[in-house]
């Protein structure tokens, strides 16, 4: 059990929210260019980073994500003029809150990635995966939320999570 927390073979699960016009397109570009990067990030597409609701980030943690990556257009480039500024404002407040909840800064990132920056997608995802791998699992999902049967057992020790080691079973 403990070795699965060692950076070598712990495979973090990172949920990414990308805006359709810049960052998602950039991720497609990275694909078209066959840039290889860590397989740990799973992208959820919204039309604009302005749609990013902090609830989504917390839900991702709650469902078992070890980190969350937010990607939008560079300031001034938003396809919808200013959605990314809203995202930025929420991000700053959210990150302060998450810190007070004991969640490390590296587990939540906001990156501006333009449609042409496929390489930045690659770089960002590799960096973040490495950083989160070093941090180890977050284990925030439904922790201590189990119902009566497990409750007495679940009170103090965080529950386990589905194996997320390399090639973790479905």
């Amino acid at each position: 059990m403990s070795d699965s927390t060692t950076p070598q073979n712990f495979e973090p699960r990172i949920v990414a929210f990308f805006c359709n016009w810049c960052t998602y397109t950039a991720a497609d570009l990275a694909g078209t260019a066959r840039m290889k990067y860590a397989a740990n990030v799973r992208v959820i597409r919204t039309m604009c980073s302005g749609r990013f609701d902090p609830q989504f980030v917390f839900a991702a943690f709650r469902e078992g994500a070890d980190a969350v990556l937010l990607g939008g257009c560079h300031p001034g480039d938003c396809h919808y003029m200013e959605g990314n500024y809203k995202a930025l404002r929420r991000f700053f407040l959210m990150r302060r809150f998450l810190e007070s909840m004991g969640i490390e800064r590296d587990r939540i990132r906001l990156e501006w990635i333009a449609a042409s920056e496929g390489d930045k997608v690659q770089r960002t995802i590799n960096d973040m995966t490495a950083a989160v791998r070093a941090l180890g699992p977050l284990s925030m999902e439904k922790r201590a939320l189990l119902h009566s049967a497990d409750l007495s057992a679940a009170i103090d020790k965080p529950e386990s999570r589905p194996a997320a080691t390399k090639g973790g079973a479905a």
Partner: protein, 329 residues
Amino acid sequence: MSKPKVAFYWCAACGGCEEAVVDLNEAILGVVNAVDIVFWPVALDFKRTDVEAMPDKSIAVCFINGAIRNSEQFEMVELLRRKSQLVVAFGSCAHLGGVPGLGNLFGRDALTATAYHDVPSIANGSNVKPVEESKTPEGTLSLPKLWNTVKSLEQTIDVDYYLPGCPPPVKLIVGAVEAILAGKLPAKGATLAPDIALCDECSRKDTKPEKLTVTKFHRPHEIVIDDEKCLLAQGLLCLGPVTRKGCEGACTSVNMPCTGCMGPTSRVEDFGAKALSAIASIIEAKTDDEIVAVLDKIVDPAGTFYRYSLPASLLHRRREPQSEGVHKS
């Protein structure tokens, strides 16, 4: 036909919910006549063994207030769940974890360390702490097991309805009781309060600017507060937009911003996250520095946005330092 059996119970709470029932005033007499109160520790004199003796599901409805933060509370609510057809989570603490839920920012050991060691008036050289089992010359004394994590009621037992508020407004209590008596209850899991945010019934509603934006937040003690104007528009961190109505703006009526005790509407998963999103969105700032400057005036995001709902929030509690073997594969 016999009157429906009703029980009241309390867990980690302040007693305000009980007071709120007393605040039914004259109406309480009507209620007492309409139902058969089989269990109400604060006012009436029946005991747990009586409850244990009852057949399962023999209690028509059980109102439980308070958060769940120790083993005995848990045993008791499980018992009541077994005996009751309906369980109503009564008040913020049972509904969302309530103010005691702020304990989830720390955890048991921190709480006891402060209470029995850190505070300046403690004369506790030998660093004594209350323990579950303690030997005395005469024998062993026991205390209930204090949980590390505070929980809302629905995180420990199945809950049928929720009556929000700290404490629930008398009107809502009466409404709920009437609904139960008349058998006019909504679908299971419903919150027995209007499903619209507080602004809807706020006296300051019409003073809101068409476009609501904030350039600078103020803390209530920092400014003279206008008696009529929308508090958010005055730069006060009022959570009315996020919070269910039903209190008729009790706090805002005395110029104090809503702190969200009624919890979110049914469309919102996580009160704090939504509050955070809405508030951050309406600030007027663009550069990182400007944004940080404005937001820094929100000095305590966790305590402000999750004043009553941390245990019921998506993240539930502060993450503890990850020790060895925390993660099992």
